[in-house]
Symmetry: C2
Subunit: 222 residues, 2 copies
């Protein structure tokens, strides 16, 4: 027990306007932002095909989003295009997978499900970003659309890291996921080669990495 | 099988310098950055006291870092201090818990372990940021020191969200963690009141939230 006296408690609150006295202090705007942040917690339950390197359980999309964002912050100098608006990329990365709360994760090599994927995800974007105040909903939706369209230098660099991240985890965990889904070296190259539009350096690293995985027998040719 | 011919494969690589022909393409610098990013994967195995809202399992520090970063991107307008360098805050947030890979997570109300916490974490920062190229190691270390010192507007706003995030999860999961550790309303206020230095708005919201938790019996006074 800290035994804090009511007087100290009021001191601790001294600079804080009393919300009951002034309802405008916690406006509808903040309530909407909180509703969005609470909804976002569900991304921690969306599991991907990739395995984490230590316990080798499946990675969830919240962890992926963090690791992906850290990758952007660390590797931004390797973008083909400079200068780069790294803040815009980080925002894109932080929100890019929220649509999976409704639409689920679609495996990169699951061609059957990819056809309807964008439509499912666009409906999810409407609902989830729609929890926010209108201006912020529009901002986040524009960032998500930019990420999906892969036309700007920022979106291309984000896409390079997004493609690279699961390749890295696969190479570090013996290619188990690739082999479980019958994914070949050639499929990996075809699916991920657009990473070079964002960063030739990262794509060159990726190619060396999967060459080594193939040499170890972790990623069959075919 | 996609049946991609070798000719198409070389086309896909057309803009990519051949790393074997030119070893400078994958320099020591990139190798060090990759070593850091691979090490970072271990944060997905560091579990906190907070529960996630859906399955009610314990949250790990990688997920926390993502949710915390999303919170900063969403709530930055509520900082006491404007303008704010949101990019610097997001970088701080993405790296702030990496020290836990060596030092473990220290529960906010674990006074016994907090005494040695900073020393343990500083040693971890030396090792983990030291994996990076020297200039980047110094940058990330400076960000971590800034976050820990809580003196700049950016670090204060980050601290406000870092304190608020577990309070939010606790309130959404019936206060189980608080009650398991004998944490009282007064301890929560004393431990987290510095959030008001970063955002009076967020702290006002937090106070209303824990008042409601106390009224429900999820957070005892005492």
């Amino acid at each position: 027990m800290l035994g804090i006296a009511p007087a100290l408690l009021s001191l601790l609150r001294i600079n804080v306007p009393d919300p009951s006295a002034s309802p405008a202090i916690i406006p509808e705007r903040l309530e909407r932002q909180m509703r969005f942040l609470i909804e976002a917690d569900k991304l921690k339950e969306v599991f991907r095909q990739s395995l984490v390197t230590q316990s080798r359980r499946r990675e969830n999309s919240a962890e992926h989003s963090w690791h992906f964002a850290l990758m952007v912050a660390t590797l931004a100098e390797h973008s083909n295009h400079q200068p780069l608006d790294v803040l815009r990329i980080l925002k894109m990365v932080l929100i890019h997978d929220l649509v999976e709360i409704d639409a689920g994760d679609t495996y990169a090599y699951d061609v059957a499900n990819q056809a309807a994927q964008h439509e499912r995800e666009a409906r999810a974007a409407d609902r989830i970003f729609g929890l926010l105040p209108a201006d912020q909903a529009a901002d986040f939706r524009a960032l998500w659309d930019e990420f999906e369209a892969r036309q700007t230098p920022e979106a291309r660099f984000a896409a390079a890291c997004d493609r690279f991240h699961p390749m890295l985890l696969n190479c570090l965990t013996g290619g188990v996921t690739w082999r479980a889904h019958g994914v070949t070296y050639e499929k990996v190259v075809a699916r991920n080669a657009h990473a070079a539009e964002g960063s030739q350096t990262i794509w060159a690293y990726a190619l060396r990495m999967i060459d080594e995985a193939a040499a170890r027998g972790d990623l069959p040719h075919g």
